[in-house]
Symmetry: C2
Subunit: 346 residues, 2 copies
């Protein structure tokens, strides 16, 4: 820590602490000479105002926190993090803010929230969001939620998962597929879809809605459901499980791109051609999606915009002039080459 403090400078310069403070924050209130003198002394002694002390009195830190439910390495590996942070970053740049990534502290969200010196939080896809938001409330710092069920009193941003999922499933159905496996992100409730919540629930609802339009439903025979972790390995596992059965679906609808890509790899290894023998559609439109072979048909969400909006809403909330608003951002189906058409026998 920098040894020398404002009093040292004041003493050395033969002025008051106030004068020193002014030299930095309100130079126009001092004569040019004084300012120059003070700054020179400060320079000599290598003085820099302590930002923590300053924050204690001013009440703001100049940084906003992104509260994430997993350790930093996992968060960073998340393929849609970059674009999201880019959006937040745009606002930070404009407003001269720093960005703090706040993961659970020794496993505890509560501790993380209590210790972070930030002017506000953007929470991302919280899991135990109710408990966490209670802590957030208690901490008294403004926050905006992203990707969790909206909560009263705080702005929220979500994407239209249901429409996205419906569009994806519709696309597959419209291509003629009637034997479909849904690969869901592991829920913790073991494929009891009635207990799904959050993103999982909305996406599942979307799938089911599209199926219903075609008078189909989860019947474990033609339309089946399997959960796997949202990783490449998870997708590979999913494919293998599905392919074990004697009857193979003609299409797999995956709840995340990374699962879909895992499926594609496993299919490649098994000699199953995509999209000729197996169609697949993902969700998220991660950067990899357009690069795999064949390019993956998937659902895209406006990630950068999401981050930007989150940051903007947060700043408004911090400024105090905001009625909490709830936003649902539109998604779009990105049709590439991973879904093939099946000729329906009349």
């Amino acid at each position: 820590m920098g040894r020398v403090n404002i009093s040292d400078i004041a003493k050395k310069a033969g002025v008051s602490k106030t004068a020193v403070s002014f030299a930095y924050n309100n130079p126009e209130r001092l004569s040019q000479a004084t300012v120059g003198h003070i700054l020179k002394i400060a320079e000599e002694l290598g003085y820099t105002p302590n930002p923590v002390a300053r924050t204690l009195t001013t009440g703001h830190t100049g940084t906003i926190g992104v509260l994430v439910p997993q350790p930093i390495p996992e968060i960073i590996r998340n393929p849609f993090m970059p674009k999201f942070l880019e959006g937040i970053g745009e606002v930070c740049t404009k407003e001269g803010l720093s960005l703090m990534i706040v993961p659970p502290l020794k496993g505890s969200m509560r501790r993380a929230i209590e210790n972070a010196a930030v002017d506000g939080f953007i929470t991302l896809g919280l899991e135990e969001y109710k408990a966490t938001m209670l802590v957030l409330r208690q901490r008294g710092v403004p926050f905006v939620t992203v990707d969790s069920d909206p909560i009263e009193g705080a702005p929220s941003i979500n994407i239209d998962d249901e429409s996205g999922a419906r569009a994806a499933m519709r696309h597959v159905l419209a291509a003629g597929h009637r034997e479909i496996a849904i690969l869901a992100i592991r829920s913790g409730v073991q494929a009891h879809i009635e207990e799904y919540h959050g993103t999982l629930r909305y996406r599942m609802n979307g799938y089911l809605a599209a199926l219903e339009e075609y008078h189909l439903t989860l019947d474990r025979r033609r339309i089946s459901l399997l959960e796997c972790v949202s990783t490449e390995k998870g997708g590979q596992f999913g494919f293998r499980e599905i392919w074990k059965k004697k009857r193979h679906p003609s299409a797999i609808v995956a709840m995340s791109d990374i699962i879909a890509i895992g499926v594609m790899e496993a299919a490649l290894n098994a000699g199953v051609k995509i999209p000729e023998e197996l169609s697949i559609v993902g969700f998220d439109d991660i950067p990899l999606a357009k690069l795999v072979n064949p390019p993956l048909t998937t659902v895209a969400q406006p990630l950068t915009e999401k981050g930007k909006l989150a940051a903007e809403l947060l700043l408004k909330t911090i400024a105090g002039n905001a009625v909490p608003t709830h936003h649902i951002l539109p998604i779009s189906l990105v049709i590439r080459k991973s879904v093939g058409v099946i000729e329906r026998r009349a």
Copy 2:
């Protein structure tokens, strides 16, 4: 900001502030009953200790800063950021730290440094590193430099750019190429290589060293040099410039993968086959490198390890028990498919 403070709790609970503080930080020094009582009151009033005030007295923030020379969006777009942050994140997770990304504040590194409430900085590829490090010194916060010329008194981490570049160029030369264009990252000194410094200089030195082994040198005819910005567009521009001339090189050696990939795109558009008609080698081994077609031969650096080492060194420095050490991390040539062999006529 949370309204209620430690005094409110103390008053309401009928104890001193000290007791309240202990209830949180040294519960073992209080009777169980008192602790329980205090915590209950705190819970009722929704009290949470103010982290800023705490930091002011304890002297540590529990967060480390990554000081970057560009606005956050640009930094995030940098394709080797994720792995680097992952490495830092590993350490953060283990130690229970948060991570702050500290970009220039309204264009000023000085302001950024002065305002960031962190226990230490990891500086990344600073440009005006001398001035910046002076400020860092003045601020009195420990720091570790990554990708800039080592400075006395602070640990540093660099990669062996020179060896990496030499390996890349050697590979091209060994494949028989003798007409080579070097695509350098724009320097600001307009291809006056004697004024290059930092990464740029080391990589260039490596290229030149390899050329020398083959009795070649920058002669603008067989071996040429061109600068471009380190983006896809920069690479596309580079290719076009090079292809304008009547005599085309058989290989392009690019100082970054993203430039190389830009070249590949432009070559594809121009109908130039890689590696049959043009070989190319990059630098960095970004995730995209293995995904492009053909996969890009390039130089890889241990990014995660770099981040991890940086964080570890920083923590040691913060702890005070560290002799500043300077590290040069090894690189490795990753041979893929973008360099073709030329038959040398005897």
